[in-house]
Structures are given as structure tokens and as C-alpha cells.
């Protein structure tokens, strides 16, 4: 009976794969200069706009809450919590959007290279998947229990996102404007290492 179920599941899975294969749209020109610029922009906005420690700390600062709770009337407290919740949700949404954009770019860009590192690709895929799931969980937690519900999760999201950024940055290294240093100007540093 188990054999029967497994066999039928394989058949169903194959037909589902074929269905999505037929519906698959033509690949966009991921390798175009425009796409590369967008990817670099996304990466920069993540690294310098959304992930810096002081910004993350500011959004989720517990001392702000403590200050408001100790010195402001209840309607101000409610307003503060509501505003901070919106900011926290906005932050998670933007981080998630940027990660998705990087995933899309990475897949599209990696396909242009003959030799991929299986280990790096697997690590990236797992990191991306974990990060996206974490962002979703954080969104739910913030939505249900407010911006101070899961401080540990916020730190994990920020740390994992920073790690993913570092790996993605290696792929986009050739877009960086480097200072002139003839001694370190090795040809290998200009290629995307995916």
C-alpha cells in the first residue's frame, strides 16, 4: 500500500512539475546592466539602509517603550505602540522584499556561469529559504504581539541577512568602484564568484 501511495505521489509530482514548466514565463534578461544595477541597489539598501545595528536597535529599542510607559498618558502609549508596530512591520517587509530581489537576481545571474559551486549554491539556497521563513514568522509575531514580541528573532534576521549580503556581495564584486591599488589588482577579483 505504501509503495502504491509513493508511486502515485511521484506521478502526481511529475505532472505538477510539468504544469509549472508549461506555465513558466520566458526568462528575463537577468544579466542585463539594468538588472545588475538593480541588484547592487538592493544590496546597498539592505546593507546600509536596513541592516545597520543602530537602525535595528532604534526600531526595536526597549528603552523607548520603557520611557513612554513611565512618562506618557495611555493614549500616547497606544499611539507609540501602533506607530512602532507599523515601522517594525515596514522594516521586516522591506528586508523580505530586498532578500527576494537578491534571490531572484542571484538565480538569474548564477545561471550564466558554467561552473557553479554546489556547496555555495546549497548554502545560499538554505540561507535564503531560512531567512524568508524567519521574516515571515517575525511579521506574524510583530503583527500579533507587537514590535517587542521577538527581539531574538530580530537579531537573527539581521545577522542572517548580513551573512547573505556578504555572499551576494561576492557575486556583485565587479560593480564596486575600487580605489587604485596596482599591487592588489588581480584579474580574478573582477569576476563574479558564484
Amino acid at each position: 500500500m505504501i509503495q502504491l501511495i509513493i508511486s502515485l505521489l511521484v506521478g502526481v509530482a511529475l505532472l505538477a512539475f510539468l504544469y509549472f514548466f508549461v506555465r513558466r514565463s520566458k526568462p528575463s534578461a537577468e544579466g542585463s546592466a539594468q538588472r545588475l544595477r538593480e541588484a547592487r541597489q538592493t544590496l546597498d539598501s539592505l546593507q546600509f539602509g536596513l541592516l545597520p545595528n543602530d537602525l535595528v536597535h532604534r526600531i526595536f529599542a526597549r528603552e523607548d517603550l520603557e520611557y513612554i510607559l513611565s512618562s506618557a498618558p495611555s493614549d500616547v502609549q497606544l499611539l507609540f505602540l501602533s506607530e512602532r508596530k507599523d515601522i517594525a512591520l515596514g522594516w521586516v517587509r522591506r528586508v523580505r522584499g530586498a532578500i527576494l530581489e537578491l534571490v531572484r537576481f542571484h538565480r538569474g545571474h548564477a545561471r550564466l556561469y558554467a561552473q557553479l559551486s554546489l556547496a555555495t549554491e546549497t548554502r545560499l539556497a538554505l540561507n535564503f529559504a531560512g531567512l524568508l521563513a524567519l521574516c515571515r514568522m517575525l511579521q506574524v509575531a510583530v503583527y500579533l504581539r507587537g514590535p517587542y514580541a521577538a527581539p531574538g528573532m530580530v537579531r537573527t534576521v539581521a545577522a542572517t541577512a548580513a551573512r547573505v549580503c556578504n555572499i551576494s556581495e561576492q557575486s556583485l564584486q565587479f560593480l564596486k568602484v575600487k580605489p587604485l591599488d596596482p599591487l592588489n589588482d588581480t584579474p580574478s577579483s573582477h569576476g563574479a564568484s558564484v
Binding site: 508511486s7 506521478g11 509530482a13 512539475f17 510539468l18 509549472f20 514548466f21 539598501s45 538569474g108 565587479f174
Partner: protein, 255 residues
Amino acid sequence: MGIYTQIVWLGGLLVEVVILVRSVLGRSLAKYPLFYLYIGSVFASSMALYVIAIVSPSLRGLLYWPKQYVTLFLGCGVIFEVSRHVFAHRVTLDRIARWTMLVTFGAIFLSVAVQAFVLPHWNVTTNTADLERDLRIAQAIVLMTILLLSGYYGIGIGKNIKGMILGFGIYVGASVFSLTLRLFFGTRFDPAFGVIQTTAYLVALSIWMVALWSYEPELVEKPPSVSAGEYQVLAGRTREILGSINEHLDRTVPR
């Protein structure tokens, strides 16, 4: 053989002839040799079985399964052909697909060897449908691996190979279903089994005929080059966006 099955069988032979003729006229024979070897062998064996079914119907039953094994083996060549073209410029992905093929087929042949060695009454000739189902499952797994990898990396697939995948996938999927249900329901399922197999194969042939009517080379993509000047424009725009985000945060959060 029922009238429907007979009509579909004859229709299949006709479509096979059309595919083979078009492969010569469209000059795609040399591009997809393994695929056309598969079609040619199916055509030859089906034709032979058709004649045998008229001359000596009892012999047809004996020859059906050996013919299935030969075409099953050559069907693996079709998957090999698909992987070769889809991952033509992606060495690593092609290697993954080949390893999957090696591991899945290896596991099945190993299990056959173990069963033949451990079970004294187990005989490959009396478990043909069982083995064919397992091999079809292996083909399905390899096809899914190719589809997963090409989908994940958004690899563009040309019309010819797309048709090859779709047609073969439909046939393999239908075979997995019909062989599994046949093993479960026994000989009661035989009439439906014949109809499903022949219909799925005719559908696959029709897809192949349309998709391989003319040769269409696969798309080759090359990494682009981007100048540092373009990056300066980007950096400026990034700073602008960051500025607006920070401004928004400043308005909401005391810093």
C-alpha cells in the same frame, strides 16, 4: 487488441514516420541523435509487434515486455539528451542531473540484484511490470530534477527541448500511474492500462511532432559587462532612496 487501441497504435506509427521524416528534412536528426534513436526503435519494434499480432497473436504477449525494456532503456537516452541541451553551458548542473540519473537507476538495479539473490522464487521475467514501474519512477525523478534546476535558475529552454520534456514527461507520468494501478488491481485493469498507455504515447508523439517540426537552436546567454560609471549613477540613486527612508524614520522615531 480493442478497436480504439488499434486505431491509436496505427495513428502512433503514422506520427512516428512524420517525426522521422521531419528530422531529416528539418536537419535536426544530427542535433538530437539519442531522441531520434528512441523514436526509430519504438517505430521499428511497434511495427514488428503489429505484424506479429496479426500473424501470431500468442507471440505478441511474449515479446511485449522485452520490447518495453528496450524502449525504456533508450528512453533514458532521451533524458540524457534533454539534460545535455538544457545544461549545455552549465557543467555543474549537468553533472547534478547525471548523478541523479546514476543514483536512481543504480538504486533500482541494486534492489533487483538483491531481490534476485535473497528471494529464491523472485524472477525478473515474472516481475516485469514491477520493474518497469520502478524504472519509470526513476525516469520521473530525473526529469523532475532537470525541471527543478532549470526552473530554479530560470534557464531558458528552446521549443524543441521543451516539447521533448513535455511529451516524455506526460508519457512517463501516465506510465507511472497505469503501471502502479495495474499492479494494485491486477488483470482487471488491463483494458484501461492499454488505453492509457497508447493514448499517452500518442499525445507525447503529437507534442514531439509539433515541437520538433523545425530545428530551433537553444538560447545561449553570456555574462554582461557593466562600467564603473553606471555604478556611480546607481550609488547616487541608492543614497537618494536611503535618504528618504531615513527621513521617514526620523519623522516617526526620535533619534
